[in-house]
């Protein structure tokens, strides 16, 4: 008999860890195979590319040990490809834990990697990238080649970050993967909450629930407030179309829809990652692998 966990044991914050190999591609010995490993504060992502084309990737939760998380993520991305570490010509580490990627030939900031990765996923029309990660939010302006023009970052506050959303998922007992859809189940959009501090969320949200607000409405008000913060960051860096969203929160339809509403601009739609499309959460790792390819090519020329 399958055991169902007791209600309080459900880990509402837990998101899906997975890996994928694109079956329509194969590798040959002469191919330049590179890897990007993006060790974020919440998720570790690795991407494998053949001659600058995506081949496989893996996503898992970052553990307490960054080097270990980097190795695990890379091994997971390699699983089922027949590739071994020595087949990788160049490995770039990125993300919050980038200096702790033991096998990397080089570490590059996640800002450059997300810029490059967004350019790869959505094409050369992308000019503004909002990367909403586990513990920071970055608004990045890029050129048609995916190079960073300018950027702004908020890393001082958990409101709107993946970590903040995990706290909400737990608090309201809604799975993190459904929290976006859930927040859109309101007939009329409530006013955003005035205080977005995640640490206060418990008392604030309880107060609203006590007032008779539905969970959906509470979540809508918070998501709205967080979307406003992100829209402000985008406006400060200067919004230029096309706009795309990368990072874990790009999967939160509640956030994405509200950012679009606040800015009055549509984002380029995310690829359908559940159905074999690329995953915008892997943008940093993809960008890292691409930059790795460029560095490898350069090293071969000299």
């Amino acid at each position: 008999m399958k055991e169902t966990p007791a209600k309080d044991d459900v880990e509402y914050w837990r998101w899906q860890e997975y890996h994928r190999v694109l079956s329509d591609k194969t590798w040959k010995d002469k191919d330049v195979i590179t890897a990007g490993v993006d060790v974020g504060s919440v998720g570790s992502k690795a991407a494998i590319m053949i001659d600058g084309e995506i081949y496989a990737w893996g996503i898992m939760r970052t553990g307490s040990n960054s080097p270990e998380s980097a190795t695990k993520a890379l091994n997971w991305a390699l699983e089922g490809t027949g590739l071994r570490h020595n087949d990788l010509k160049y490995i770039v580490g990125t993300g919050y834990g980038r200096v702790n990627v033991p096998m990397a030939n080089k570490a590059i900031t996640e800002i450059a990697c997300h810029a490059k990765g967004a350019n790869y996923i959505w094409g050369s029309s992308v000019r503004t990238v909002l990367d909403v990660g586990g513990q920071d939010i970055k608004a990045i302006r890029i050129d048609e080649t995916g190079r960073v023009v300018s950027f702004l970052m908020n890393d001082k506050c958990a409101a709107g970050t993946g970590r903040g959303m995990e706290v909400f998922a737990d608090l309201l007992k809604v799975s993190i993967e459904e929290i976006g859809d859930f927040s859109l189940k309101v007939e009329t959009e409530p006013e955003p909450v005035s205080c977005t501090c995640v640490a206060f969320a418990k008392t604030e949200a309880m107060g609203l629930l006590r007032k008779g607000w539905s969970k959906e409405k509470v979540l809508a008000a918070y998501t709205r407030a967080m979307a406003v913060r992100m829209a402000n960051l985008i406006n400060r860096v200067g919004l230029e179309k096309e706009l795309v969203i990368t990072g874990g929160q790009s999967k939160n339809v509640g956030i994405v829809t509200r950012i679009e509403n606040v800015l009055g601009v549509k984002t380029l739609p995310s690829p359908k990652w559940r159905e074999n499309g690329l995953d915008p959460m892997v943008a940093g790792a993809i960008g890292a692998a691409l930059l790795g390819k460029a560095l490898y090519d350069k090293s071969q020329k000299t």
């Binding site: 506050c157 958990a158 005035s194 205080c195 640490a199």
Partner: protein
């Protein structure tokens, strides 16, 4: 009517005759009633003998028996100057909010700043970090005083601070140094708030967090000025409200 506790002060002919505190809990109105009853008992008075009740604090509208209200800033200013006649800046750090009031020699508020949107500058921060460190809240201050230096910690947010503290514990950093880092991070936030107001001496610190020796030591280091702390700093708001009430009796 604070976010965490309700404080009551009873004044008779300008002297404090009763004081009581209860947790705000689920029903702050009821907690207020209980605190009033306890303070009256200590003062050996009955509620009918009280001429005027003034409420203050973030939950002031939940004090059902009050005759009037006064803003938290107004109450802080009145109390600060009543406690220390030369007070011109009153800093109040509570459980969920920090504020600072500039006042004149009559205890009238001239200007103020508030941090109410972020837990990193309030008592809630120390509480969360004490939990992460597995140290009792009241032990945090004395613990931090044992440290010569502070651990490197990016504690600008309670949520991130918690995971930072866990990482530091795993790295076997000393608890006193982590505790000191927590107070330094907090006084950083409070002092950056004060920067907008300007610091006019004498500087008085009130609110529940003023009882924490670790925070006080850190704030002194940060501000580089003498900080005056009354005997019962957590009752300052209630005292200010009582002083306002006394003025409203006739």
């Amino acid at each position: 009517m604070g976010t965490q506790s309700v404080k009551v002060v009873i004044l008779k002919d300008g002297h404090v005759v009763g004081r009581a505190r209860t947790y705000s809990g689920f029903d702050p109105s009821k907690s207020a009633e209980e605190a009033c009853a306890e303070a009256l008992k200590k003062a050996k008075l009955t509620s009918s003998e009280v001429d005027h009740v003034t409420a203050t604090g973030s939950g002031m509208e939940m004090a059902l028996t009050s005759d009037s209200t006064v803003s938290m800033m107004g109450a802080d200013a009145r109390a600060g100057v009543a406690l220390f006649s030369n007070a011109r800046t009153v800093i109040d750090v509570g459980a969920e909010e920090a504020r600072a009031v500039k006042c004149d020699d009559h205890g009238i508020m001239v200007d103020f700043v508030v941090n109410e949107r972020c837990a990193a500058g309030a008592g809630a921060f120390i509480e969360a970090m004490a939990r992460a460190l597995e140290v009792k809240l009241e032990e945090m201050g004395p613990l931090s005083l044992k440290a010569e230096r502070a651990s490197p910690i990016n504690a600008s947010c309670v949520i991130f601070g918690e995971s930072d503290v866990v990482t530091l514990i795993h790295r076997q950093e000393s608890k006193p140094e982590i505790a000191r880092a927590v107070f330094d991070a907090m006084s950083d936030r409070v002092s950056s708030m004060l920067f907008r107001l300007g610091l006019t001496p004498d500087v008085v610190l009130v609110g529940g967090v003023a009882m924490d020796v670790g925070f006080v030591a850190s704030l002194k280091r940060k501000l580089g000025v003498e900080i005056l702390i009354p005997e019962h700093p957590e009752f300052a708001g209630a005292l200010g409200a009582a002083l306002v009430a006394a003025g409203r009796v006739r």
